[in-house]
Amino acid sequence: MKDIATRALNLAQMRGATYADIRVVARDTQRLAVKNGKVEVIQQDETQGFGVRVIVNGAWGFAASSRVEMRQVEEVVARAVAIAKASALVKTHDVHLGDPISIKESYTTPIKINPFTVPLSTKIDLLLRADEAMRRVPGVKVTRAEMAFVREDKLLASTEDSLINQEIIESGCGIVALATDWNTGEVQVRSYPNSVGRHQQTRGYEFILEQKLVENAPRVAEEAVALLTADQCPSYDATTLILDSSQLALQIHESCGHPIELDRVLGSEAAYAGTSFLTPEKLGRFRYGSEVVNIVADATVPGGLGTFGFDDEGVPAQRTDIVRNGIFVGYLTSRETAQQLGLGQSNGAMRADGWARPPIIRMTNINLLPGTWDVNDLIADTDDGIWMETNRSWSIDDKRLNFQFGTEIAWEIKKGKKTRLLKNATYTGITPEFWRSCDAVCNEKSWIVWGTPNCGKGQPPQVAHTGHGAAPARFRNVRVGVIK
């Protein structure tokens, strides 16, 4: 691989590149799924290839091929250079990357049990047992249990003399029960540990065992059935809302993680994902949230899906303040955008989806730091409100201001106690108003780094795996319930 990398970089420079890098990536994915007692999926996918990124005439070009062969290198480099020259025909300024970065290191995800060495039969047995435990509950229509494992080996080499090897391993799992009532047209779902299929971390098979899928399966199924006859979540123009940590993780992802991506802020995503309300003049002075809101981007936190040794430009993983005591203080940056805004060095948020796509700014682990409240004390301290748990639907505008989330389950809180079960719960708001209304964040005892393995962005589309540390938190004066 090193020979291919060296050849590509030499060729790029000979053809006029003032900067070039190459990423050679091999990714193995294993997926297993059980549905209604039947093994529905056992699948192993391998993909490998390389992508060459060049700057020629002050503009970017990128080309990639699945054929990792010396004779293919010349063709791909020539294509990348030709593309860069075409880019230069419609440019307003030259690309600047700042000071060169030269790093020769390697990184491997620390794991206890390699998930790819655990027999398929062991994994399937666990999924079948969890699935069966859900199916024992009368009234459940569809049950599903799944696991996913990812291993990515990647080499990054650049004309600035960087040479970085990384091996990233991820493990994920989840169960879901669906209950329907044809007479009322009601469809209700419960998931564990998280919705959208699974919870995932950069850890080994030990992560799967810790989730205790079988032990949680009966509760999950019972809640799905109970929701069929639960009361509709009432509508309030303003009420108190407590979000569990998994729903809060998605709230952080959508309303903080995306608007701090500096490429969005500078307009690069305007035609697709959109722009951001966190415009540059707000940096360091805008009140994003209340005093108890402290958010960091941390690519070093153990187990996070955004945890690595180096980003895909070779910038070391780091922790950056994003919101400090409620004030917006930081963006996610690339080498190029950090220069554009005069922020100095990149804070290492350039990530590519495999070998075929160029790195773009992505979330690492965007974490709401723990507060001081015990979760039971927080409920006891709430006289009248709603607890919402596990995401069911999400939507936010192109500047990341107006959002609406729905959750799988909710409970009314009356006089400090969780009481009536509620279905079809939704809440809506405007991002800074919402975060400014946060008056309590729970402590590290209920703080979890959730994984979001399905974050879409970019053209051509790229899927990123991001992490979000969160504990339950309370928000005042939130608009709840808009479903008829």
Partner: protein, 446 residues
Amino acid sequence: MLGENKIREIAHQVLGFSKAHQTEVIVHVTDSALTRFANSSIHQNVAESDTQVRVRVVYGKKIGVASSNDLSPEALQRTVETARAIAQAQSEDPEFDSLPTPQPIRRVEAFSEATAGFSPEQRAQVVSVLCKQARARNVIAAGAFSTTVSEIAVANSLGLFAYHAGTYADINTVMMTDTSSGYASFTHQDARAVNAEALANEAIDKALRSRNPTTIAPGEYTVLLEEYAVFDMLNFFAMLSFTAQAMQEERSFMKGKLGERVMDARVTIWDDGCTPEAIPLPFDFEGVPRQKVMFVENGIARGVVYDTATARREGKTSTGHSLPAPNTMGPYAMHVLMAPGDTPKSEMLKTIERGIWVTRFWYTRPVHPMKVLVTGMTRDGTFLIENGEVTQPLKNLRFTTSYLDAFNHVRAISRETRLFYNDWGGASRVAPAMVVDGFRFTGATQ
């Protein structure tokens, strides 16, 4: 591009490596390029070539699937071996009967040499027109222009071999002022069909008309939904409602309604994988020819799409709508078309006394599958309509409304339709514009 003969060779090589009772191989070749622009200049410009080989082996009723994009004989053999090992770890699938046997597949012309050979300079030239127009009219241009060559082949040990090569070009642009934006997009088999000036004008006109938007109280309004918005609605029906699996799992409003009125009598929606009006693919990922499937005909529910597994459950035959195995989503309608109406789009406005013009929807997500209840935002051109005329631009609105209800409250359907390509689902849609009553807006943004 590998060509039919080379792909046939790879497929036969894989089938030769397998000792399974039945074996299926899918070869998918893509060669795509995309030029992305923002702030009226190109900022990302990429190309990629990939060939994925997916192998499904069957031992009795045990099935294993593995894939790789390494075409060396050793790697192909290893992929077959991985699939075999997976099949051995599998439990039996009592519903499995057999891989499909060969059926005649219609050849559909979907390949444009011009698109396949479209160069980075040609893409830059098109983008340049958009950016120049933007500068001339004092707006900022952003967007993406992609060209794709795709070859798909399905072969199995029962003698089936299906091959299709196609191309498409897709371009979209958002033009922006300080307070507003406008949108336009275009999809075609032939990249030369892109009319950059017309696209630029459509998006710029809208951006300029929507400057300094005002707010409006949320509530129920009559809406003029442009084709871009109706495209989104068709995507949700395809995903949530028009599939056998959703019906079998009691998640679709179509269950128990076949032969009954489910939408306005002017609505007709169907799937056709062979029509050149869409981006055709005449067979599915099991090699079964795609049948034309009528979903809703003059408002009456007629049918849904099936793959082999869901068809077998009901004693039917596949309609040719399988996704690649192993597939948990069930069958999927990749080519949804909605029939045009009889109202010229230019006259639709006149039918509205007070309402809202919606250019397109953004970040739409299902809230309740059975009701096709969806939430999302308007984007890139939202206007107040009064007495048959656009009177003022509006800030973007959030809606939480049932798309099924909307298709039951149709006031007019346009004569014109547009073709769209969905990046994430690999699907194409043909949609008209519509006027709909009682569309429910639940909030606004700043």
